[in-house]
Amino acid sequence: MKSQQREHGPTDRELVEACLENSRQAQRALYEKFKIQLYTLVYRLVNDHDAGNDIIQDAFIEIFRSMKSFRFESSLYTWMRTIVIRNAMSYLKKASRLHLSEDEIPELPVQGAFNFTAEHLEKAILSLPDQARSVFVLIEIEGYKHREVSDMLNISEGTSKSQLNYARKLLRTRLATAQYE
């Protein structure tokens, strides 16, 4: 496994060590390695490309400046992801976009096959209210637990659960009522 990693470039540990020596080349390599995963996450959280780019820029600068505090207790991606999510949440809070919303949604019967694509699903996810979308993305896509999400969003676990249910229900309804080509 390690030899495979070597064939494809330096390991995370090697990259971190080089970044700690302020190697711009290593910093660039780290950026290239994780930019798509992290940007995709940020974009899904904030649903805005301009804001997403600003957040990623600030997050990577913070990542390189605070690299000394990374102790390999988690994977490098997990550590970087935490910083990126914190920045995204900070943006949403500053923009006053994190409102709790839980309107009553009627459950609609779904007719026929589920012929929606991943792109349709993405569109439906991005149409969710910010709070519900953040909870859905962090739990269903990123694999966090309600306890972790409640810490990140500064909400109770109960709110995290109800927001996830709300997001799921909205998605079902929107995907069921959408017309697909």
Binding site: Q37, L108, P109, A118
Partner: protein, 198 residues
């Protein structure tokens, strides 16, 4: 009478009618479950996005700029120290019987324009420096100068710790150090005040 009523209620409770959900409910539940499954399967195929093409250049130029994030905190530090001191002033006065009301009144008369220790807007160390500028004899003593130097060193050390926290984040050890230095600073400030008022 009451017992009879209870018996009737108990009997009627057993005779309450049952209610069935709507005929189409299972269809709704089933379709919701199927939809959840379909969503879960498509999550793996969700599209990915790239940041802007000039993002690396922006990050690189950001890295070459010195970290300015500490600046805001430097403004807060003297204010925080002043607040800390003002909050602890009643305790300091109570603890140190050497600080007496008459002495305070005399100094207040000598410095009527905002250099009193109790002034809400003044940094305590600035107040002490201003008092020394007026030629207060206590400021000339070696002991006072030593304590003043110690205070400035502690202040400097605290700033360095703030820099470290900003660069690498905090930890319980660093926070403990900050508290320890804050306490030392507070004690040194108290000693300086005692020397002035003695």
């Amino acid at each position: 009478m009451n017992k009879r009523n209870d018996d009737i209620v108990s009997t009627r409770l057993k005779e309450l009618p049952t209610h069935a959900p709507a005929d189409g409910l299972w269809q709704l539940i089933e379709s919701a479950l199927d939809m959840e499954d379909a969503i879960s399967k498509r999550i793996a195929d969700l599209p990915e996005y790239s940041p802007g093409i000039n993002m690396w250049e922006d990050i690189e130029s950001g890295l070459s700029v010195p970290d300015q994030s500490n600046t805001k905190r430097w403004y807060l530090l003297p204010a925080a120290a002043a607040v800390l001191f003002l909050l602890s002033l009643p305790w300091l006065i109570q603890r140190n019987s050497g600080i007496i009301v008459e002495t305070e009144i005399i100094l207040s008369e000598a410095e009527p324009s905002g250099s009193q220790i109790g002034n809400d807007e003044a940094d305590p160390i600035d107040v002490i420096e201003n008092l020394c500028k007026t030629g207060t004899p206590a400021c000339q003593s070696a002991n006072f100068r030593e304590k003043f130097q110690l205070y400035m060193e502690l202040d400097n050390e605290l700033r360095q710790l703030e820099t470290i926290i900003d660069r690498v984040g905090d930890s319980p050890e660093i926070i403990q150090s900050v508290i320890r230095i804050e306490n030392l600073k507070s004690n040194t400030l108290q000693e300086l005040i005692q020397l002035i008022y003695s």
